[in-house]
Amino acid sequence: MNDVAINKEKVPRLILPLLLVIIGFLGLVSLIGVIVYLLFDYIESAKVFQLKGTNSTLFRLTPHVISIIILTVALLVVFKIINITIKRSDPLKKPKGLILLVEIFVTTMEKFTVDLGGERIRNLAPYIAYLAVYLFCANVFGLLGFTPPPTSSLSVTFSFGITTFFLIRYYGIKYNGIGHLTGLFKPLPLTPINIIGEIAFPFTLSLRMFGNILSGAVIMMLVYTGLTGLVNVFISLITGTTSPISELLTPLMVAPSILHIYFDLFSGFIQTFVFILLSSVFISSSAN
């Protein structure tokens, strides 16, 4: 009886801050988004980065840059909030709420890394944790709906691939010295295959995630367009005219939400997990 009464009292006390945090986070993201979007629009119209006389895509500003900046600033704010929370909390008291979440995350990431690669790559745990946080947030970024998720750009995923590639080299040389390089020539006839395998790693890693997330975004775009057309047909059948309301009605249907759960949440989680698993496995195999 007593426990039930306490729980009943506690639930509203938990729900309200949680709602505030979510609303605050979304508001923050939207605010940053609007500011960055205006800036971006200005830069794009002024063609600051466009090389003179060329129409090269290499230097064009893409919407992914906006996503990256929004996500970075939002995550920085979250990190600072966590930092303040940790500093204020007493380690001797029972952890709860945000601090419990962070504690579980940090210990899980450390355990994950050390289980895979041993004590040698314990330093790598914050990088793996960073990858997990950033990639998951980036993969589910499409849910917010203003710009495409950062990971649907090959340049973004390739930058992670190249970072992991250099980390593999760094840990290999740090722990195996010259043996890391001579290992490439171990079965001498297979040298070209070894070298190609090593170089291909960042590409496979980045293309896998890019392809998955981009295909998810493409399918969602097709589904939205198709459903909007369908709603338009129904509305014109009933009222005899087309109306702009159809675009607002589409997201209320059930099909997009199920597909969002699959393509954004599930696929995003799986891709993040595969990415950090492969990264830590390759780094630990080069370190040991």
């Binding site: 995550l75 001797l92 946080v133 750009s153 930058s159 975004a217 493409v218």
Partner: protein, 174 residues
């Protein structure tokens, strides 16, 4: 339909074609976020956990020390208790032995005294007997003298003597 294909091609184009600006922005974002994740979240959390584990380790250590102390004291007390029991036993044994000795001593003394008293009584009886005999003898002698005197003073005939002796015996018998 044309609009859709435009949107799609824009999405895929912007994602697929290599783009230096996106690449560098992401690298910069990675550097910044990694640095601040490590500085603001990772290290404080590690310190937080370390503080807690240190406190727990300290508590466990002190609990272990207290337990050891308790065990030590228990052993000490058990030893003391055993010693006290042994001592008590020894005291009781000693007392019993002494009591036995004392009893024997008392009995021996009593026997000695009894023997002495009996001996004294026997001696006294003997002496009394001797005294009585002595007195009897002297009285018999006195009696003989008295009888002889009477016979000598009244020198009579045999009948008269007989009569006198009877008379004397009667006198003596009185």
């Amino acid at each position: 339909m044309n609009e859709l294909s435009n949107k799609l091609s824009q999405l895929i184009e912007s994602g697929l074609y290599p783009n230096i600006i996106t690449f560098l922005t992401q690298l910069l974002a990675t550097l910044i976020l990694f640095y601040f994740l490590k500085k603001w979240v990772w290290k404080p959390m590690q310190e937080y956990l370390a503080k807690r584990s240190n406190v727990i380790i300290d508590e466990l250590e002190s609990a272990r020390l207290v337990k050891e102390e308790a065990f030590r004291m228990k052993e000490e007390y058990e030893l003391e208790l055993k010693q006290a029991k042994d001592e008590a036993k020894a005291i009781i044994m000693n007392a019993q032995e002494q009591a036995k000795l004392r009893r024997e001593e008392i009995i021996a003394q009593a026997e000695k005294e009894a023997a002495y008293i009996i001996e004294m009584a026997n001696k006294q009886i003997e002496q009394e007997k001797a005294n009585v005999e002595k007195e009897l003898k002297s009285q018999v002698v006195d009696l003989a003298f008295l009888a002889a005197e009477k016979i000598l003073t009244e020198n009579l005939d045999q009948d008269k003597n007989r009569h006198l002796i009877d008379k004397f015996l009667n006198e003596v018998g009185k």
